[in-house]
């Protein structure tokens, strides 16, 4: 077996950069930090590529199966003899794939930010956080056990928090970062409970053991059940809640649109390409467990994914803020991936959904990062997030325009761009397993094409707005990543994914199912056509359409009032009906009881002061009657 222990450096280099920049960054010029971070990530990316090439192409499958290799593992914290948190590196198809995704996108974002963030206060801080995030995300995907994953899961959460709140003087950014952290934290609670339940039943954290076919999770009959579902199922559902939170699945999605308050490169990296797919990765990581031991849990995954993809797509149609459109689009696409996992079986061609999900994850990372970076360039040029402030930008920003168009076509699923291939596999898998989900997916494909082109036309076509200064193309340091990612978006669809990333590690042949491919392309084209009609030129159709379905439009525009619901729950219920009463109770009942004790004592003290009246005869009276009482008591009442 090949020695992959050098892979340890892939996460460690960004960590080192984080510490270096964090502790000494303020001593140098800001740009030094940028270079240092970028350099570090370049090395990490290089190592990742080498690893990928070695794993997939040089070593290849052993006995027809891609092996799961624990390259490094050391005990970090020991709970019991069997339960211990190890820190290590796990090399298997999905982790290697994720290495490539993360380092690629991250490197692009690092480069891009050199231009985008130039001159910002806290430039060094930005790069420190980026490095921290890269470290955490890499650690997450390389996790050898579920607890290590949880550790890095939390770390990416906090990096995300720090980066969303990068503009900490802006109240909306602070609020968004808080929201993101707390919502995901809430989901993480589910993850933690899931881990606790799982480890109690299986007595292990190790992924290898958990997912092996003769491991405890799959062989254990897990007798205890609750509400008709086994403990394993419950624990996997709980774990999925964690994943759903991070991946912004309905109803834990509300943080993602707000997270767009962060700098745009961050949105590209964290909230489009990498961190938000961690939930998908988590389910994929435990896939054998889901598929074999808890199909019910997998159904939950599928339905949540499907619903979210539709739900988010509907909202995306009406949003004005271009980053929010992209954010909802991301939610929708991740929902797709989840759905795909949900409709997958285990092994061989049954596992098509799994493969498709991973495939889509990969391609989505490329084109969504591209979209975000493109949006960043636009925002950089226009100084606004709203598409109402944009229009006709194709003239000013040709490179951005072209790359953005490619990305739109990719996400719409137009062949032969990468999005087509991965989406096609997902729909194929859904068709075979669950027609309802297929229907949803199919509809979403059309909606996606529509809202993406609505976005595209609104930005680049339509009428020119009055810009404060003429928008201009971004500098080369920013356009290079756009071009690179555009190339990746175009060609990554040709990767033989079914030969590399499969549910059981064994390659299989995936065929393009014309029955699925043709209708999906058609519906995408229909979507594009509608968008073209409505938005290419200024037109009253959108308004009229909105007027005719006013209720739905309003609901979509207001994101189905989910923010308000959450606000209600947190402010009105938790604050007003739990915390405040508790605080009140603590002061006025518990503390008052303690004070009451003191009050009773002092009051008693005052009440009985008459006993000491200063009157000698009263003293004598007490004396004598006490003697009498004592005699009565001890001679006649308590005598033995």
């Amino acid at each position: 077996m090949t020695n992959y222990s050098y892979t340890l450096f892939i996460p460690l280099i960004p960590l080192a950069m984080f510490l270096l920049i964090g502790l000494t960054g303020h001593k140098f010029k800001p740009i030094v930090s940028g270079y240092a971070g970028t350099l570090g990530l370049t090395v990490a990316a290089f190592l990742s590529y080498i690893t990928a090439i070695r794993y997939f192409f040089i070593e290849g499958a052993v006995d027809g199966t891609y092996p799961m290799i624990k390259a490094v593992s050391t005990v970090w914290l020991r709970f019991t003899d069997t339960l211990h948190i190890d820190l290590g590196v796990l090399i298997d198809p999905i982790s290697v794939m994720m290495l490539v995704v993360i380092t690629t996108v991250s490197l692009m974002v690092h480069l891009y930010s050199l231009g985008y963030m130039k001159g910002e206060r806290g430039f060094a801080r930005f790069y420190a956080f980026l490095s921290l995030f890269s470290f955490s995300m890499l650690g997450l995907v390389l996790a050898t056990n579920i607890f290590q994953m949880y550790i890095f899961w939390e770390l990416v959460g906090v990096s995300s928090f720090l980066l969303i709140g990068f503009y900490y003087e802006k109240p909306s950014a602070v609020a968004a970062s808080k929201k993101a952290f707390i919502v995901t934290r809430f989901a993480d609670l589910g993850f933690l409970i899931g881990i606790l339940m799982l480890s109690f039943t299986t007595d292990t954290f190790d992924f290898k053991t958990l997912t092996s076919l003769d491991g405890p999770i799959i062989t254990s009959t897990a007798g205890a059940s609750f509400m008709g579902l086994s403990v394993i199922t419950w624990s996997l559902i709980f774990i999925f809640i964690g994943g759903a939170g991070k991946s912004a699945m309905f109803p834990l999605h509300i943080w993602l649109p707000d997270a767009m308050e962060g700098p745009t490169p961050v949105s590209a990296l964290i909230h489009a390409a990498t961190m938000v797919v961690a939930g998908v990765y988590l389910v994929a990581r435990l896939f054998p467990a889901y598929a074999i031991a808890a199909p019910d849990a997998l159904h939950v995954v599928g339905y949540v994914g499907g619903f979210t993809s539709l739900f988010a797509a509907v909202i995306a149609i009406t949003q004005i803020d271009i980053k929010r459109v992209l954010a909802f689009s991301t939610m929708s696409q991740i929902g797709y991936m989840m759905m795909s996992l949900g409709v997958s079986g285990y092994g061989d061609h049954e596992g098509l959904g799994y493969m498709a999900s991973m495939f889509h994850l990969f391609t989505h990372a490329m084109f969504k990062a591209l979209l975000f970076l493109g949006a960043g360039a636009i925002i950089h040029a226009v100084h606004s997030n709203n598409m109402t402030d944009m229009g006709g930008l194709r003239k000013y920003m040709p490179i951005t325009h072209i790359t953005f168009l490619i990305a739109c076509l990719t996400i719409a699923g137009i062949p032969p761009l990468s999005g087509f291939w991965s989406k096609d596999e997902i729909l194929a898998a859904a068709l075979h397993h669950n027609p309802i989900l297929f229907g949803i997916g199919f509809g979403v494909a059309g909606l996606t094409a529509f809202y993406m082109f609505r976005l595209y036309y609104n930005i680049f076509w339509g009428t020119d707005r009055h810009y404060h200064h003429t928008p201009h193309e971004a500098p080369a340091i920013m356009t290079f990543p756009l071009l690179f990612l555009a190339v990746a978006s175009v060609f990554s669809g040709f990767l033989p994914f079914s030969h590399m990333v499969t549910s059981d590690g064994k390659p299989f042949e995936a065929h393009t199912d014309m029955l699925v491919a043709i209708p999906s392309v058609v519906i995408a084209l229909i979507g594009i056509t509608f968008a073209t009609i409505m938005y290419k030129k200024p037109s009253t159709i959108p308004d009229r359409l909105a007027g005719s379905i006013k209720g739905l439009y309003k609901a979509s525009l207001n994101k189905f009032w989910f923010d308000e619901i959450y606000l209600f729950v947190t402010k009105r219920v938790i604050f007003a009906y739990i915390s405040r009463p508790i605080a009140w109770f603590d002061r006025h009942v518990v503390d008052a009881t303690m004070n009451l004790v003191g009050w009773t004592v002092t009051t008693a003290s005052n009440k009985i002061k008459g006993l000491q009246s200063g009157q000698l005869q009263q003293y004598a009276m007490v004396f004598v009657s006490s003697v009498v009482i004592l005699v009565l008591l001890f001679v006649y009442l308590i005598s033995k």
Binding site: L77, R78, S177, I193, I574, G598
Partner: protein, 499 residues
């Protein structure tokens, strides 16, 4: 003199030296030297302890030293350390070291301040090294009582009320402990044999179960008061809010740990049968503490109150874990004591430093301080992250050990309350982020705050010491955890054997 007694002797010698100090300058230099020596000694102790263990010394207690004190009552001055006490000693040294620097600029009666503070620490050290229940109790009270003066004289706000409340409630707790200890003593040996206060001898003899049922709740409640057990925690918010910085640090950081440590070392260890029978009552109380404290913190406006309620929550977790009575949970409890000790000390240090600049602790009167006080701001964020259990900082290690351990309990009830307790991590996130968001981020609210200066060198030293310790525990928990585990094993075996 044996090595461990120096832990008590150094503070006492320092106090004596301070008596000859002329002014603040000399006083604080002497204090700093003394406490640095203490920290050095601690480092040496940790090293020596680990070396002994590495050399294969498997005795439960190392560096034992025994002098008979009251022969006729069989009271001894017996000291010794195991992994748990070494860890607690290390915590104390770090916190008191940081505390001395955090109170570098005490200008009102500085000598008296440092004397009380260091005297208090000697009580804490004595408590942790004692193997004899009598001396343990003696040191316990020595540790508690200077609090009255420290809060009453150097405190802020309704300090007299708070100091009195704190002292009375804690001494009420220690009153219960006294009854409990006497009960233990008079049941410590079979009829006709020499009674003893020695922890291990009592454990070896075993206490009759009937007596346990009566004395266990007394001891547990008694120590629980100091451990901020609901509903006896109300001294904590007021007390901490009024106390001066270093005192809050020491009190929340170390003194509250005496409660947990005592509950474990005395109540659980000596009376496992009764503990097993009655655990459910206290488990309910402690899980209430955990959740209730966290929710209580959410709506507070005073930084110190937030942290005090947070301490109620976190210390509740300690007692909660202790009651689970299995190896992992107990390990988690000890880790949580250390972790909470460090981070709450850091919190209080920072709050003190911020208060020293802004002269308010109300979060709604401050805002955007990160911009003017970057060092303190970052440190505060780190403390907050530690508190909400971010991996890589100590809180995570402790909480996870507790949760995993508690969830390993075979009883469904225990697992259920464990899940209840885990919900606190979300609430913790809520109040921590609320503070960070309002206090540090956003625009600056008060124009006067624009001209604040960032941390001085002593403040930095104090802060960095604590952060280093937090990170050290958080990043490399294994040595600590293993050290504790090693010493827990015989204890847990005894507990299991008793059940």
């Amino acid at each position: 003199m044996d090595i461990l007694s120096w832990f008590v002797a150094i503070p006492v010698l320092t106090v004596m030296a301070i008596l000859f100090a002329k002014d603040l300058k000399q006083t604080r230099i002497i204090s700093a030297i003394g406490m640095s020596a203490q920290l050095g000694l601690t480092t040496w102790l940790v090293y020596a302890y680990l070396a002994e263990r590495a050399a294969g010394n498997a005795a439960a207690w190392l560096f034992k030293y025994d002098v008979t004190w009251f022969t006729s009552l069989n009271i001894h001055y017996t000291v010794g350390v195991d992994g748990i006490s070494v860890a607690m000693i290390a915590l104390t040294s770090v916190v008191i070291f940081a505390g001395v620097f955090a109170s570098w600029r005490t200008d009102y009666l500085p000598r008296e301040f440092f004397i009380s503070l260091i005297l208090l620490s000697s009580g804490v050290f004595g408590f942790f090294i004692s193997l004899d229940l009598f001396t343990m109790f003696l040191f316990y009270e020595i540790a508690v009582i200077p609090m009255y003066l420290l809060i009453g004289i150097w405190g802020t706000g309704p300090k007299e009320y708070s100091a009195m409340k704190l002292t009375l409630m804690l001494m009420g707790g220690s009153a219960l402990i006294m009854v409990g200890l006497l009960g233990v003593y008079f049941n410590s040996a079979p009829a006709g044999q020499q009674l003893t206060f020695n922890l291990n001898e009592i454990a070896a003899n075993g206490i009759p179960v009937v007596a346990q049922q009566f004395f266990f709740p007394m001891l547990f409640l008694g120590f629980g008061v100091l451990g901020a057990l609901f509903p006896f925690h109300t001294w904590s918010p007021d007390g901490h809010a009024s106390a001066p910085t270093a005192v809050s640090m020491l009190h929340a950081g170390v003194l509250m740990k005496l409660g947990g440590y005592g509950a474990f070392r005395v109540a659980i260890y000596l009376m496992p049968e009764a503990a097993q029978d009655q655990a459910w009552i206290f488990i309910i109380l402690t899980s209430v503490s955990v959740v209730y404290g966290a929710f209580g913190a959410v709506v507070q406006k005073d930084l110190k109150y937030i942290n005090a309620y947070s301490s109620v929550s976190h210390c509740g977790l300690v007692l909660f874990a202790i009651l689970m009575m299995n190896q992992t949970a107990l390990n988690g409890a000890i880790l949580q004591m250390i972790s909470h000790g460090l981070m709450t000390a850091l919190f209080f240090a920072l709050i003190g430093m911020i208060y020293g600049r802004t002269h308010t602790r109300m979060i709604n009167e401050m805002g955007g301080l990160m911009k003017v006080l970057p060092f303190l701001g970052v440190a505060y964020v780190i403390a907050g992250l530690a508190s909400l259990g971010l991996p890589g900082l100590s809180g995570f290690v402790a909480e996870m050990t507790i949760f995993v351990g508690a969830y390993q309990h075979t009883d469904l009830f225990h697992r259920f309350v464990t899940i209840m307790a885990t919900t606190s991590i979300v609430v913790t996130a809520v109040y921590i982020l609320r503070v960070v968001g309002v206090l540090l981020f956003g625009p600056i609210r008060d124009e006067h705050h624009l001209h604040l200066t960032d941390a001085t060198w002593w403040e930095r030293l104090s802060t960095v010491t604590l952060i280093t310790a937090i990170a050290a525990v958080g990043i490399f928990p294994l040595w600590l955890s293993d050290m504790i585990n090693f010493s827990l094993r015989p204890i847990v075996e005894r507990i299991v054997a008793a059940l």
